[in-house]
């Protein structure tokens, strides 16, 4: 185990919704620069877990520490946002009536007040950063397109680009491949792989082909009934009997 503190460390987290235990005694550790995939059957608590990290829901007990010094369970959603935790939702939420460029411009890190928005002008440095991100997310030629005119997959990439623009230290990506064509899925995988190392990323996913692509020897976490069932490289996880029993055995894969 590394000497550096974990970027994210959840310990003994519990959360129940009117009696239903969505998360039970969950412990989860994430190193700086990791690309971690979280899989699990429906109702395993994957999305609830993201809600807990981003401050959308407060756990009943347990701690979630970010960079060792911040306890996320005591912070509000916008404070957590300012720490540099960005989240991509399942359905793409981009500004459909704005251009791709404007979408990224609004997401760039910077002052958020009313006054700043009235007097602020885009700086050359910001412009360069936006073009850099456009290149990463493969939308350079569509900078002036309205985001609403993009294909579903491109919208997902744009939203990942918006997380990059906000300079998030931790990217939480919820089912990025949902509703994508095979080709789009493969390109999304490439995009996430190219970001690994520079950013710490947690990907929640169902599609096992996609999971194989992006995990490539990296650690995969299997959630089941609100806690970690097992962790390890994808082959090892898929060979695990408990996993086969609860999840993989029933999957279409």
């Amino acid at each position: 185990m590394s000497q550096r503190p974990f970027l994210l460390a959840a310990e003994g987290v519990n959360k129940s919704f009117s009696g239903f235990k969505a998360i039970r005694e969950l412990s989860f550790y994430l190193d700086q620069g990791e690309l971690r995939t979280v899989i699990g059957p429906n109702g395993a608590g994957k999305t609830t877990f993201l809600d807990l990290i981003t401050g959308r829901t407060v756990p009943d007990s347990g701690t979630i520490r970010f960079e060792d010094e911040h306890d996320l369970t005591r912070m509000t959603a916008d404070q957590i946002y300012r720490l540099g935790i960005g989240r991509k939702f399942q359905t793409p939420t981009v500004y459909t009536d704005h251009t791709v460029f404007e979408n990224l411009y609004l997401s760039l890190k910077g002052k958020r007040g009313v006054w700043a928005s009235l007097v602020g002008r885009i700086t050359p440095a910001q412009r360069d950063r936006i073009y850099e991100i456009l290149k990463i997310i493969n939308l350079s030629t569509k900078a002036e397109w309205k985001a609403g005119a993009l294909a579903h997959g491109q919208k997902q990439w744009l939203e990942i680009g918006m997380l990059l623009a906000q300079d998030a230290k931790l990217l939480l990506v919820d089912e990025p491949a949902a509703g994508m064509t095979d080709e789009e899925t493969a390109r999304t995988g490439e995009l996430l792989l190219s970001l690994a190392g520079k950013h710490t990323i947690v990907v929640i996913e169902h599609d096992m082909v996609f999971v194989r692509q992006i995990s490539a020897g990296r650690k995969v976490t299997v959630l089941h009934q609100g806690s970690v069932l097992c962790e390890g490289p994808v082959d090892q996880v898929q060979a695990n009997e408990k996993v086969i029993e609860v999840y993989l055995g029933r999957s279409k894969h």
Partner: protein, 399 residues
């Protein structure tokens, strides 16, 4: 745009002042008589009100049904000064405004006294609606009231305002309001010259408001405003204090409407509580929809067009006016999502889809798809009414 501004600010009043009458053909003459100029002054005041509605509705997705309240409040603030400037020239030859004498008041209520000063009245045109919208907006946006609930609350606000002003004990003229104004800053309001000056002020204000709002929509603020309309949650998750942005727009629009109202009163010569009823607010919403919401030219075009139509229809077919207005609204909502200003683009698109159809020779593909920009983000894809409420242009097939 500059040409239209010059036409409104310079050419119209100049034609009026010089009594130019351009002979067109037969008995038809183009001239701007005092009555016409005064009518246009009224339209332009309404256009200012319409811009304030659209900046909220078309740009921020906040359908305020209370803008007439701010319009009327601005009118009342200047009206109080005008009432005091009548002096002893009223029916009762008293220092007090006529309605106070009539109601048996013997002295001027305390809150009327500072209105002897024009500067104070002018300041109140900004302050009172500004403060009211600040308090109301703060309460509403802090508790995240949006959509139809916001519309209902603003409607209730303006209804409460009109009920209050209808009462005689408020000492604001009751249901008769204020009228019979004589002087403004020493100038006789009955003279054509004064009215022309006021008209020029109105045209200048309209152009100023238009240019100011246009600038606003091009700033990052404008981008955020429209982002709030399309995907409020995303804006929140990008760390923007959405409530403060909404509050800023709401207060700004309250003040814009109030300025329009303040110029309306000396030119129309009367202000009463019927100006702040909910149907007046709704009319302003119709102007925006007819002209084209989500643009700044739209509300101006809509306000002038609908009111010109009203001037004509209430003379030609007085009983049918409300039916005409209702039909107009339905036609626009169902067939012309972009309003009058969106019509050229719509016709263009229609012609293109027709020619495409005849090229491909497939009658099945007749329904032209909604333009991509109209796609509603998944988060917001609720009912069509919701989209309409948020001020987004609707594709006809969705209504």
């Amino acid at each position: 745009m500059l040409a239209i501004a010059l036409l409104l600010i310079v050419v119209f009043p100049a034609l009026n002042a010089l009594h130019v009458s351009i002979h067109i053909y037969g008995d038809h003459r183009l001239e701007v008589d005092d009555f016409t100029l005064n009518l246009w002054a009224k339209y332009l005041c309404y256009a200012i009100l319409a811009i304030s509605v659209d900046l909220l509705w078309g740009y921020t997705g906040l359908l305020s049904l209370g803008q007439a309240l701010f319009f009327a409040l601005g009118g009342y603030m200047l009206g109080m000064h005008l009432m005091l400037m009548i002096g002893k020239l009223g029916q009762y030859k008293s220092d007090l405004p006529d309605f106070m004498v009539f109601l048996g008041h013997t002295f001027l209520p305390w809150f009327w006294r500072p209105f002897r000063s024009f500067a104070f009245a002018a300041a109140m045109v900004f302050l009172l609606p500004g403060l009211l919208s600040l308090i109301f907006g703060w309460l509403a946006f802090r508790s995240r009231i949006k959509g139809v609930y916001f519309s209902i609350l603003t409607q209730a606000l303006t209804y409460a305002g009109s009920l209050m002003f209808f009462r005689n004990d408020l000492v604001m003229g009751g249901n008769n309001g204020f009228t019979d104004f004589k002087f403004l800053l020493g100038a006789n309001l009955r003279s054509a010259g004064t009215q022309r000056g006021l008209y020029v002020c109105t045209a200048l204000l309209l152009v100023g408001v238009y240019v100011g709002c246009r600038w606003l929509t091009f700033t990052r603020f404008g981008l955020i405003q429209r982002a709030i309309r399309d995907s409020e949650n995303r804006v929140l998750f990008s760390g923007y204090p959405v409530a403060r942005y909404k509050l800023f727009v709401f207060v700004l629009c309250g003040i814009i409407a109030s300025l329009g109202g303040a110029l309306y009163v000396p030119q129309v010569g009367i202000i009463n509580p019927s100006e702040m009823t909910t149907d007046k607010s709704l009319e302003a919403v119709v102007w925006c929809a007819v002209g084209g919401r989500g643009t700044l030219v739209g509300p101006v075009v809509g306000a002038i067009f609908v009111n010109a139509l009203k001037s004509w229809a209430t003379r030609a077919y007085p009983d049918l006016w409300l039916i005409i207005l209702g039909l107009l609204f339905i036609v626009v909502v169902v067939l012309m999502p972009g309003g009058l200003v969106g019509l050229p683009g719509q016709i263009n698109q229609f012609l293109r889809s027709r020619s495409r159809r005849s090229d491909s020779d497939s009658p099945i593909a007749s329904d032209s798809p909604a333009p991509a920009s109209d796609a509603v983000s998944e988060e917001d894809s609720g009912s069509a009414e919701l989209s309409a409420l948020k001020g987004k242009p609707l594709a006809p097939d969705r209504v």
